[in-house]
Symmetry: C2
Subunit: 866 residues, 2 copies
């Protein structure tokens, strides 16, 4: 299964701290920016350009050229503006969307043409019907697999993770863009029940990332992280907007799907770009003579004066509730299929070998079942997704009613009629078959979304209910003066919004539906159904995107359900990790080494001393490693040696023995080098975590070298010739001794990058507030302090456990809701006071001698609880 | 002017810190909550209730009663659920909205009836036409003024402030609710150009606050601050939703208008409540036989197949741009009127005396001008706001065209026709007159909004453009095969959305317009016009609500405009206040006193010592005051005295002299007591800020007493009899001496409430990020630290200055964009390193003697730079 290897690949993420990051990069960036601005604004740094130009354009059109140059300069200065970026993004995405639609339509047309042309022989027809999509899907899967496996799937889960501030590698590159665009076109061209919405969110984000990189060539302001995140948020809106020509729904859907907290100022950006994009997308359709003017994508023509009767509302509510269950079932089914494929080792091994077999197999099954002369005749198999939707939203009533028996099926509506069964059977078969087909098809490792298939199924379900209602009340329910017949198409609209809302856990599908159909007359039924569907689905299953996030093991923060009061009672002190490793300001290099061995935390707190525990900042694990490796670096050893040589001039040993040492040193160093290629974790695991009390000589040597091998990438380790000559003047025993000496020195933090304001929480902070702050600031961890003293740490993991533990009832890592304040109210306040008192006492007796030396204390404290 | 006194009243707000607040209250709350939960869940605390019941219901229907009791208990346990609350809120608000609409319609009907009945005498007609609204408005103004002046105006600016976490007193009470509902009904019943949307947001919020207080009587979970804010956000959506029967637009509008950052989980709550509310609101209309079924409020019937031509888009864009200028002008005009009325002292003094004169005068002028037989005939004066909108959105073309000359004006459309002029003149006069009338009318001190009047003006402007287009292209622009005439009603819809969007700086007016008209076919023109209108208006003026916030001097944080790149370059170090007062852990009470005198900061940083400057927490100003006053309290003096008495038993003085001291002591204390009634600021101002270097004895005495008078409310100062007897045994000189002694003691912070984790920023944090964090967390101030050391502070004020300074170009408090990194890149990094080095050095030489004693250092350091 490709999705497994993809999940592994996806694990190579890194967390960017949105808050309190040490911004030395920003400093460098600012310098570059200053230089650029100076280039743009002041003319002094660019004095040669106009003169150069004037030199070689002494001819006729010199003023013309100067003018062009000025224009160019003006344009370049404008390139940095947000609106230019957004317009370009909208334009590009509209073109991509339109071109892709065109290509997909051509593909589907080709299939239809082949199928139609071969109507003499059913077997040939079947071969054509089945082979065509299989080839396309296989090509799509293979192409994506080879070029960029990141392009597989929807992309919305990944965008949600990226917008949280996590950097997913290779997810926003040109390669992935190309793979996704071509893969998606082929996948959708095959006629499988796949959607384009999710991938379009991803494509728009990639487009934004590429565009911003491209525009930064012309100057402008495109390197800022905060700005990039804002632009990505706008891009998500553009993605949905230009996919459905639904600017408002696009903005809202992208907000609901990707964000936990949303900045209203980005909202405006999203509207701007999505509107422009949708506009261009529809203008292209007019320009291509597909449409006479700008209209909705799936225009409906329901009557305006009496869209529905008040007494029909229960039926709409039923659609909503049933869609809620259906949506949850879809998510469940989709997840189970993925998990089943992974767990079945024999299938899995076979499929892993032949990666393209699974897509081909699935496509074969699905296309066989939809073959129109075969089983497809019972489920309108010959209709494309678009045609299906058009027919489902149709204005007419399909079921024959008492009065208007004369009604004839027209055009593509014919597909839904079967001579030996009625419309209801066709609809039920369609719904059941498409349901599992869609759930299965969306697990194929090609770029594909699940929104559109679910939307179609929902519409079919709504149609089914609507037709039943129409059959039940042939003259409508309302019998006052006029006869208003029931409009089953309205039910289809409601069903489509409700089911897609249930699967994605969004309310904005309602808006998308209005924009897609161009009618808003059913607003209340749609809203009621969508809300009921959401209420049911949210209580049963996570959304499809959250489900994929969990399957792919991306970092996430579960939503706090509403109405979970216990969240307000759980406090940080109930969930925090109390026993954490830390670095003290006056610690020794040996302590750093032990801390690195005893914990896997990516950020270590830096405290003033082990007694005061006052939090000064946080230091990255890699920085600690760099400190250690630079302390134990050969260069420093050489420096020491040189000093030694200079001071003790008489100690010149025979050169021959030293020459011998070179070879052993380098040979013992060589096997450690290739470990650099691998990620950090395995290398760390290889290091035995020896008890710090009794470090044997060999072990220390080993760790010394291991550490070097780990971190020498950070320090520049290109040995110069001089070093080579001097470096050999120590035996391994001497090196060991020297390293031991070095480890006993007090750490000099001056060269390390320290985050001077890591995020702090208080023990009393409620889980609710902690969740809010974590999701607001995109935090990965936070330290818990009590009047400056470090008392614990909360990371995303603890928070996730606390929320899910109390949500699902299993894996209870939290104390029961009441426990936290049955004993806390008095005691914690007292604890605070005591801590303060201690601090205060300590200051009072500031000059008193202490019981133990600070360094010794740290040695004992740091590795405790290992 | 009432709005001035209102502004003063509004200044009595207090900032609630959403982040890092010391939550001792939470502890108490948790205890209560635990007790309540125990009452609900465990049956043990309530054992008597069922037995009691069984005793007196031995009769027939005992099982019935037990069942009822169980139902009741179940209901009570459900009362705490969010959805119950939201449904109740939606229901109540729908009823309020419908009842109010009904009352307003009756009022307007009465006026029309009076006007119609008196058609024999124009003078009588005029009297009736003018008197009726004047009486209603005057009553509304008077009633509001007497009952709750907080009910005046829109309410959206206040809600925006409240949702930022600021507590505005008396804004969410029952009195204000009653005043707002009745005042608004009368104001709108008068027929003045006023709106109901803004006040409805306020009414819904009050309703939510009252409902949550009411439901908390039955148990449930209604005291949590975070939850209350979430519920208020949902209530704002309900307010708009049930006002226009526009659930989606309501949610979006309320988000745009009140929030900077929005939690997507609240969004769902808003949708739920707003949909339910809108549903009930429309069902009530059906029930009342106003409508046949649920439809839009201002239903339009534009053709669906060809809503507009692509070539009409420039006209829509023109509407958008013109509306942008118009909206900015409206905000400007509204503000200028308010400021003019305030500045004109003579008018002001006169109007202040006769508060009701101004509303009456304005109403008189406006109703005179709209008198239908008079000037009103040129501006469709006889139409109510609702009728105006219905006619403006009408499907027909008003201007007579070449072909359909046979077209006749029908019904209320008649009002727009004038025998001696044409439709264009009427429309222009209407727009111009209504424009200034609306801007003037919204300054009347009655509950009123500006949305609806602006909406109507926009619709009229759109209609004007549409009619012009229809006259220009009588057969439509598109001339391929069919003739599609231009629909001026569509232009009216676009104009309404654009102008109201421009005034409120929102995009969601587009959605409101779709929901109001029940048609979404004009989505692209509307979106384009709204976005253009916003772009123009946002660059010229703040939104109407922000303008009111500034006029009322409520705390606010200006939005960061988009495309202002310099925001990314300004850093915290450029805007922070470096010279701040602080409290050290080992300081003396005298230092506290000096800090209190030298600064007005509401939160003082608590640092470890003046050399280390390690930030430990923050302490509220009032807490510092309480510490001081308890140190200098009579009780402590008495305690000291008693100890003295016990130890030095022989020192008994004559009682008579002491008795004499009582009276002077109490008499000197008495005048200070009434000052307690007043807010803190004036009391503080009375204290002379004497230079701390030379505190004369008298001054200290004064400040000692002043401090006592300031803060004795905090400490329990009810003197017992024993104290009275012992308390007099000191002469004023002795008291002074004793106080001086006390001031020299080291502060014991153990009884003070300390915020153990105040928000920290780093010097490098960009203005953009700072703004984000401040608006995300609703901060009031943040300390700037560098590796644990306090280096400065940023408050809302500095941030505001920095943003507005660079936005408007005047009042430049920021360094120019480039200045911040021309010199900083290297130096600041170095500074960090140096600071770290110092800290490190200090630790290295920890046991070395210092140059000066820590206490002495503090004394010198604390008041420096005063």
């Amino acid at each position: 299964m490709a999705s497994e290897s993809e999940a592994q690949r996806a694990l190579q993420y890194e967390q960017t701290l949105m808050y309190g990051r040490y911004t030395q990069d920003l400093g460098t960036f600012a310098k570059d920016e200053a230089a650029r601005l100076r280039l743009q604004e002041g003319d002094t740094p660019r004095p040669r350009r106009p003169s150069e130009l004037l030199e070689y354009s002494q001819g006729r059109c010199a003023p013309c050229r100067v003018c062009a140059l000025q224009c160019q300069r003006f344009l370049i200065s404008k390139v940095g503006e947000d609106w230019v970026f957004l317009i370009l993004l909208g334009l590009v995405m509209a073109l991509v969307s339109w071109a892709m639609d065109f290509a997909i339509a051509t593909c589907l047309q080709a299939q239809k043409w082949m199928y139609g042309g071969l109507d003499t022989n059913v077997l040939l027809q079947y071969m054509a019907w089945v082979t065509y999509p299989t080839v396309l899907i296989t090509f799509s899967a293979g192409f994506t697999q080879i070029l960029a496996p990141q392009a597989v799937g929807s992309g919305i889960p990944e965008m949600k993770t990226i917008l949280r501030g996590v950097v997913l590698k290779e997810y926003l590159t040109l390669k992935t863009f190309v793979a996704k665009v071509i893969g998606l076109t082929c996948a959708l061209g095959s006629g499988m029940p796949l959607g384009k919405e999710g991938p379009f969110v991803h494509i728009a984000s990639m487009c934004a990332a590429l565009l911003s990189r491209f525009l930064s060539l012309f100057g402008g302001f495109y390197e800022n992280e905060a700005r990039n995140i804002e632009m990505l948020a706008a891009a998500c809106a553009v993605g949905v907007g230009c996919c459905f020509a639904a600017p408002i729904g696009g903005v809202l859907f992208s907000i609901e799907v990707t964000s936990t907290f949303f900045a209203v100022r980005n909202y405006w950006r999203g509207f701007f770009a999505a509107t422009f994009s949708a506009f261009i997308f529809r203008v292209l359709a007019v320009w291509n003579k597909d449409e006479e003017t700008i209209t909705a994508l799936f225009k409906t023509r329901f009557r305006l004066d009496f869209p529905f009767d008040l007494q029909e509302l229960p039926a709409f509510a039923v659609i909503g509730i049933a869609s809620g269950f259906g949506g949850a079932l879809f998510v469940f089914l989709n997840r189970k299929i993925v998990q089943f494929m992974r767990r079945q080792k024999t299938i899995n091994r076979f499929l892993m070998k032949k990666r393209l077999l699974f897509p081909a197999l699935v496509t074969l099954i699905i296309s066989t079942l939809t073959f129109p002369p075969g089983f497809g005749q019972f489920m309108a198999g010959q209709l494309t997704q678009k045609d299906t939707l058009v027919t489902l939203f149709d204005n007419q009533t399909w079921a024959k009613q008492g009065i208007n028996d004369e009604y004839e099926y027209l055009g593509i509506l014919e597909a839904w009629r079967h001579p030996r069964s009625n419309v209801f059977v066709t609809l039920v078969v369609f719904i059941v078959m498409k349901f599992w087909m869609s759930a299965l098809a969306t697990t194929i490792p090609v770029p594909c979304g699940a929104f559109m298939p679910v939307f179609v199924i929902g519409a079919a379900f709504g149609r089914l209910v609507g037709e039943s209602m129409a059959a039940w009340f042939p003259d409508g329910i309302h019998t006052d003066s006029n006869i208003y017949r029931i409009v089953p198409g309205g039910y289809a609209v409601v069903g489509a919004a409700a089911l897609s809302g249930a699967v994605t856990h969004t309310v904005s599908t309602a808006v998308i539906v209005f924009e897609l159909t161009g009618q808003i007359s059913h607003i209340l039924p749609v809203m009621i159904a969508v809300i009921l569907a959401n209420a049911v689905a949210q209580s049963l299953q996570p959304s499809l995107y959250d489900s994929i996030i969990r399957i792919k093991k991306l970092p996430y923060l579960p939503e706090l359900g509403w109405g979970h009061h216990e969240k307000y009672n759980v406090r940080v002190e109930d969930i925090m990790v109390r026993d954490i490793r830390y670095v003290t300001l006056n610690c020794k290099y040996r302590d750093l080494q032990q801390v690195l061995h005893s914990t896997k935390m990516k950020n270590l707190p830096l405290v003033e001393s082990a007694e005061s525990m006052i939090l000064l900042g946080s230091i990255e694990r890699t920085q600690v490693g760099a400190l250690l490796s630079s302390q134990l670096s050969p260069q420093r050893r050489l420096m020491t040696l040189r000093h030694k040589v200079l001071s003790e001039d008489g100690h010149r040993l025979s050169d021959s023995s030293i020459r011998f040492q070179i070879s052993t040193e380098t040979s013992s160093g060589t096997p450690a080098r290739p470990a650099l290629r691998k990620p950090l974790k395995p290398a760390l695991k290889r290091v035995p975590s020896s008890p710090p009390d009794s470090p044997p000589a060999g072990s220390t040597d080993h760790t010394g070298i291991a550490l070097k091998s780990l971190f020498c990438a950070n320090a520049a380790t290109e040995p110069t010739e001089e070093e080579m000559i001097l470096g050999d003047k120590m035996t391994p025993a001497e090196i060991l001794e020297w390293e031991e000496q070095q480890l006993d020195q007090v750490v000099d933090f001056s060269s390390a990058k320290i985050d001077p304001a890591p995020f702090q929480l208080v023990e009393h902070t409620s889980l609710h507030k902690t969740h809010t702050i974590f999701s607001l600031l995109g935090l990965d961890h936070a330290f818990v302090t009590s009047i400056g003293r470090l008392v614990g740490m909360v990371s995303l993991k603890e928070l996730r456990k606390a929320i899910e533990g109390s949500l699902t009832g299993k894996g209870v890592k939290v104390r029961p809701p009441l426990a936290s304040f049955r004993d806390s109210t008095a005691s914690t306040t007292e604890a605070d006071t005591t801590a303060l008192r201690q601090l205060w006492d300590r200051h009072q007796h500031h000059h008193m001698p202490r019981e133990a030396s600070p360094g010794g204390d740290d040695d004992d404290d740091t590795p405790k609880g290992e």
